[in-house]
């Protein structure tokens, strides 16, 4: 491995791109004997599989668990986490024949993999007592499993729809329930995590009903708040085991920044092509390598390049992604284990704990979006005795570039927090339905940490809806329905739209899409990508809730043009900070898709703009907003770095304004919306500042009546100049570094004259989920580090006038306002303006 490294360090086309090399020395590992209470048989079985002692952290976990503590294990990939929960379970199951354990894995594939693993480690007399119960379990076996299984492997969706609603059929199992394992809990975040927390509340009610109080054992990838996250999910105190004491070979971790190929735009050579290039070097030296790519399309492209360049090794090059059949996947996993596969290009489908053995090297093409995922992917490299190598190749995105400059985020302390909001009223309401179905609520009952007073209003709403029936002392289920079947754990609104594809006069359903995303993703005329295929949306049917797609071979993609207005509902917190006040509260975001742009795949040029008429949608959610102080604006204006200051339009302004409105029949001259209640805005076609006198500027010929939404559009250029939109851009891009979320989980708006803060300039970030899942609240709490990170990103970017890696490429005139953004960020960081 060192040979490859030396080769790269000498190659002048590679060496300059290596931004950082981290070396982790080999460690011997810290071993300890099996605890004395472990049965001989169990130890014998472990010896057979080559395990003769425990790592110290495993013994520590066992100790906590045997003492009855809820325990979270965060010791990283390949540190033997399975044994941490499996040994106590096996031991107790052998001591007491009534004891049972529930093991929840996030996916069916992972259940299959872990099942094999668990069988391997278990004494044969327990094999009949271990089973998977999921959607693939044949009906003929289910009864047997319900009656006999003691170590049950399943997933949250199955617990939700098949086990809890039928708990009396699992009476024996719940009576004996002693351990509950949740694996990979960093995945249980956001909406999904909020559902899981409520599922646990239900599970706890049912356990209590059968007089059992199980010990929870959780595992997680590295996140900043693993223990807190566990405590939020389970609503009980946890012990954490985090020091990895397993032996590891020497490991090199390279941060690789592809060379800049377009200085103006800050565009770098693509991460994928660099990954292929490095992959080839590794392949040539026979190093088994896993290349991670972001999209399925990239996976296919990567494999195509590799095979074209190395035809003699084509049978050792594989692609691995979701969308492949399980049998295909198992084959590739097997080929990895046996070493037959030398290089595999994969999506994050291979990031989860499926056992493929340790790789010699891992190449990550583009920052995977979170530090947790980076660790998971990098953890695939590493063997007990050999040296291994990880290369993280940055893309041009701000986050990737930030990571390149701040490798300590990866190597020292992960700053990302996994967040959930179990009390999101929509999610809570859905699970209360299920909970009433499972067991009636009696006066005084709690639901997780929510008291009777917290949940009673929800139950009363269900009663008004005739879904539950209120008697003198309890609420019982009354609808002739099975609520769990109508609730998906993976979205807030039960409503989703189906994606129908019409091809050769046959209609097939290729997937579904959340109500919240339909405007963005599948509006009429949208180009939609699914499994590497391109489709165009023919029809969006709101009544029957489907989108009809046709296969599409055009050379453009689409970008929606969205109008957003924000209304403040409540303001829960305000805090003065440097140069601004920050707020947290509830807002209503009204969004309307006005149209979309067709953008060329090749040169990103706008080919056409089309208008659409779609209904307005509103989203009530939580938001964090930054209200810029007027002193700050003054400071910027003095430095000529703010051009959105309200202007004194002169003594005839009111009169001219009214004349213009009258002339335009009080109707917006862009969208023909008539005035309703409030007066429309009057806009200067040529900006006021460009005239030397107000009379000239305010001539009627220069004025036009616009509704507020159209006015906002017309002012875009001006607002960009203020640095406000640059600030919005960089904050939104950077936020996922602090809260574990996907790009679509947050929305943002900037407004230089915001009605929610008395006309002051505002940048607002909101949770893109009805009622919020805690993302914006966490950003509010981490305002200072978010802002200092943002300043660094923009300052250290080598572009001249803004690029996708810092403040964005700006409006239609290409002017992004990088200087203005830097100045604004300096003020918000309490620093003097220095450009």
């Amino acid at each position: 491995m060192k040979e490859v490294l030396n080769f790269w360090l000498k190659d002048p086309t590679i060496f300059p791109n290596i931004a950082k090399v981290y070396q982790t020395p080999a460690t011997q590992g810290d071993f300890t004997e099996f605890p004395r209470n472990i049965a001989e048989e169990l130890i014998k079985k472990l010896n057979e599989t080559g395990i003769f002692s425990l790592y110290r952290h495993q013994a520590e976990a066992l100790n906590w668990i045997f003492q009855g503590n809820h325990t979270i294990i965060t010791t990283g990939t390949a540190s033997g986490k399975t044994l941490c929960y499996l040994l106590p379970i096996l031991q107790k199951c052998m001591e007491d024949l009534a004891i049972t354990a529930l093991l929840l894995f996030p996916t069916k594939a992972l259940s299959q993999d872990q099942y094999k693993n668990i069988i391997n480690l278990s004494p044969s007399q327990l094999h009949n007592a271990i089973a998977i119960y999921d959607g693939d379990t044949p009906t003929s076996q289910r009864r047997m499993i319900r009656e006999k299984t003691r170590i049950l492997i399943t997933n949250p969706d199955m617990l939700h729809t098949a086990i809890l609603p039928h708990h009396p059929m699992w009476e024996r199992f719940f009576h004996g329930l002693t351990f509950i394992v949740l694996d990979e809990i960093h995945l249980y975040r956001g909406v999904f995590g909020s559902h899981i927390a409520n599922l646990i509340r239900r599970l706890k009610r049912i356990s209590r009903f059968y007089f059992s109080s199980p010990v929870y054992i959780l595992t997680s990838a590295t996140v900043a708040n693993a223990r807190e996250h566990a405590e939020n999910l389970i609503e009980s105190p946890f012990q954490e085991v985090s020091d990895n004491s397993s032996p590891r070979g020497e490991k090199y971790f390279l941060l690789y920044n592809p060379p800049v190929i377009h200085q103006e735009l800050g565009v770098r050579r693509s991460a994928l092509s660099e990954a292929v290039r490095l992959g080839e070097d590794l392949l040539a030296r026979g190093k088994q390598t896993l290349v991670f790519a972001h999209t399925r399309k990239n996976v296919e492209m990567g494999v195509k390049f590799l095979q074209e360049h190395n035809p003699h090794l084509a049978n050792q090059i594989f692609a691995y992604r979701s969308g492949y059949l399980p049998t295909q996947r198992r084959k590739i996993e097997e080929a990895l284990k046996t070493g037959q596969a030398k290089i595999v290009v994969a999506t994050n489908a291979l990031e989860l704990g499926i056992d493929i053995g340790g790789m010699e090297s891992v190449v990550i093409s583009g920052y995977p979006g979170s530090i947790a995922a980076t660790h998971q992917q990098a953890g695939r490299a590493g063997r007990k005795k050999q040296t291994s190598l990880v290369v993280l190749i940055a893309s041009s995105s701000p986050l990737d570039q930030y990571i390149i400059k701040h490798p300590e985020f990866i190597f020292e302390k992960a700053p990302e927090m996994a967040l959930i909001n179990a009390d999101n009223p929509l999610i809570l309401l859905q699970h209360l339905r299920c909970a009433v179905f499972e067991l009636p609520f009696r006066e005084g009952d709690a639901f997780g940490r929510l008291s009777w007073n917290d949940i009673r209003p929800f139950l009363q709403v269900l009663s008004l809806n005739q879904e539950v029936f209120a008697t003198a002392d309890r609420f019982i289920w009354r609808a002739n329905q099975f609520p769990a079947q109508m609730i998906s754990l993976r979205s807030t609104s039960g409503d989703s739209f189906l994606l129908h594809v019409e091809e050769d006069e046959r209609i097939t359903t290729i997937g579904e899409i959340d109500q919240a995303s339909i405007d963005w993703m599948v509006h009429p005329g949208a180009v939609y990508l699914h499994q590497g295929q391109t489709y165009i949306v023919e029809e969006l049917n709101f009544e029957k809730k489907y989108a009809r797609l046709l296969p599409f071979n055009g050379d453009y993609y689409t970008q929606p043009i969205m109008d957003q207005t924000i209304q403040k509902i409540t303001e829960d917190k305000v805090q003065p900070m440097a140069g601004c006040n920050i707020h947290f509260g509830e807002v209503e975001v009204t969004r309307q898709l006005k149209g979309f742009r067709k953008i060329s795949f090749h040169d990103k040029e706008i080919l056409a703009t089309e208008e659409l008429e779609l209904p307005q949608r509103s989203l009530r959610t939580t938001a964090y907003w930054i209200e810029i102080h007027s002193q700050s604006i003054q400071q910027l204006s003095d430095n000529n770095l703010w051009s959105a200051t309200p202007i004194n339009y002169g003594p005839n302004w009111q009169k001219q304004k009214n004349l213009a409105r009258q002339r335009d029949h009080f109707t917006c001259q862009l969208c023909a919306l008539p005035e309703k209640g409030a007066a429309h805005h009057v806009h200067h076609k040529i900006p006021f500042r460009q005239f030397s006198t107000y009379e000239q500027a305010n001539r009627l010929e220069n004025l036009i009546t616009l509704c507020p939404a159209c006015h906002q559009k017309a002012e875009t250029v001006v607002r960009i100049r203020s640095g406000l939109s640059g600030l919005r851009y960089v904050l939104t891009q950077l936020a996922p570094l602090y809260v574990l979320c996907d790009a679509g989980d947050l929305g943002s708006v900037s407004d230089s004259q915001s009605p929610i803060c008395e006309g002051n300039p505002v940048v607002l970030i909101y949770d893109n989920t009805a009622a919020g899942i805690g993302l914006s609240q966490s950003l509010f709490e981490r305002h200072e580090s978010l802002l200092s990170g943002a300043l660094e990103v923009v300052l250290s970017c080598s572009c001249s006038e803004g690029c996708p890696s810092c403040v964005g490429v700006g409006g239609e005139n290409g002017f992004a306002g990088k200087q203005e953004t830097i100045a604004l960020l300096q003020i918000l960081n309490g620093l003097p303006i220095r450009l």
């Binding site: 059929m169 067991l439 609240q777």
Partner: protein
């Protein structure tokens, strides 16, 4: 994370508005926000159904009992209590000793608050049917209110104590698990677990598979029992909604139809049991000229190793005739029955009959018979040739035909070797 919103009072309009803004629909078309049950104007169940209070240690339950007259007929079925259950009970694999008396059997059917099952589904009416000293009775236990469930379940427990055997229709997948849920949810032992459970659904499926597409109790009632319900009947899918309306309004009037529906279900279930008992005991008389039913019952006899009665039924069926497909199927089954009992000559007659329908398999069976039992390789060879001839005329998929020809040619070649004849000279291509 602190809980950001305080919801303390339902009357708090801002709470309701908040949920509405989030897209939650509040209230249904038929209710206003302030609708409350009008208990005063309600008609209690006691005024609708002449039942009585049944007292338990958990309070009172509501029970209705009714005795049928000794000469009651349900459709075409006599309810006089004189039936021979021997074969039916044998099929049910119940312990024979001590012999089961009709008085030990209870017929059970439930009405529930939902048809989807699961622990959120209430059982609110359980109908029991039974014979006592030759007279037929029904008892219905009704849940007047969910708060009364302990008493309701205890009453049911006590009422079914005398019976060893429980008969249901589809009860193994519906009624029994639901009642099990209710007992567990209320912290009781489930008394049904002690009973032998006969679910007639699997038996009716076997007997009428060939004849009836719809084997629901309602359809059997009309097609087999010849009973037709009165106008009081309400369809089963409406029952859950009606019960909740009763709970809401406390007006028991619509429950009349539900009680009727449940009662007829129980009586029809009992009648079906009687009919099945007669049918299995004496199929030729109980079910005249229904040869499709007879062959189904004959198979059942075969399973019970009652070969004499199976023979009798197969003979009768072939005699009065069957649709061609079933006729041939029956020839084979009947023949293999004889083969099993060693009566090859009788089996041979049946296979010969099948040969009239150009049956390849029959030829093969005959060839096997000549080869192994008559040791006549020549005859066996002849029949193998006939089989090959028939096979060539059959409209079978090519790959299947190929496979079968291969098998037959293998047999032929073996026979040729045994009989000492040369291989070549005979070709069937």
């Amino acid at each position: 994370m602190d809980y950001p919103f305080a919801y303390n009072n339902i009357m708090d309009e801002s709470f309701l508005n908040r949920l509405r803004m989030l897209g939650v629909q509040i209230g249904t078309d038929s209710t206003t926000t302030h609708a409350s049950p009008k208990i005063d104007s309600g008609i209690p169940i006691e005024k609708i159904i002449p039942g009585k209070s049944y007292s338990t240690i958990f309070g009172d339950a509501f029970v209705f009992e009714k005795q049928y007259s000794p000469d009651y007929r349900h459709g075409m079925i006599d309810f006089n209590g004189r039936f021979d259950l021997t074969t039916l009970l044998a099929w049910s694999r119940l312990p024979v000793d001590p012999p089961i008396q009709i008085d030990e059997i209870v017929f059970l059917d439930t009405e529930t608050s939902g048809l989807a099952g699961g622990s959120g589904t209430l059982v609110f009416l359980v109908g029991l049917g039974y014979w006592k000293q030759g007279n037929y009775h029904i008892t219905q236990v009704f849940l007047r209110h969910p708060a009364e469930e302990d008493a309701f379940l205890t009453a049911l427990d006590e009422l079914i104590t005398p019976f060893r055997i429980m008969v249901t229709y589809n009860g193994k997948s519906f009624d029994a698990p639901l009642l099990n849920n209710r007992y567990i949810l209320n912290g009781f032992n489930n008394p049904l677990k002690e009973k032998h459970h006969i679910d007639l659904l699997s038996l009716t499926r076997r007997i009428w598979r060939n004849r009836l597409n719809d084997r629901s109790l309602g359809n059997l009632e009309q097609e087999i029992l010849g009973f037709h319900r009165s106008a009081e009947e309400i369809p089963g899918w409406m029952v859950p909604q009606m019960y909740f309306e009763y709970l809401q309004t406390q007006n028991a009037d619509p429950m009349k139809g539900v009680f009727y529906h449940n009662e007829v279900d129980i009586v029809s279930l009992s009648a079906l049991f009687v009919h099945l008992a007669n049918l299995l005991q004496n199929p030729l008389e109980a079910n005249e000229r229904q040869s499709l039913d007879w062959i189904a019952i004959a198979r059942l006899y075969e399973e019970l190793k009652d070969y004499d009665r199976a023979v009798q039924l197969y003979e009768a069926s072939l005699k009065i005739g069957l649709p061609t497909h079933f006729f041939i199927q029956t020839l084979y089954r009947f023949a293999s029955l004889y083969r099993r009992t060693g009566e090859y000559d009788k089996a041979l007659v049946l296979w010969m009959k099948a040969v009239e329908f150009n049956e390849v398999e029959a030829c093969v069976e005959i060839a096997k018979y000549y080869e192994h039992h008559q040791k006549s390789h020549y005859q066996a060879l002849e029949w193998t040739e006939t089989a090959l001839k028939f096979l060539n005329t059959l409209p079978l998929p090519r790959y299947i035909k190929k496979q079968k020809i291969k098998e037959l040619e293998h047999r032929r070649n073996r026979l040729l070797q045994k009989s000492g004849k040369p291989h070549n000279g005979i070709s069937h291509e």
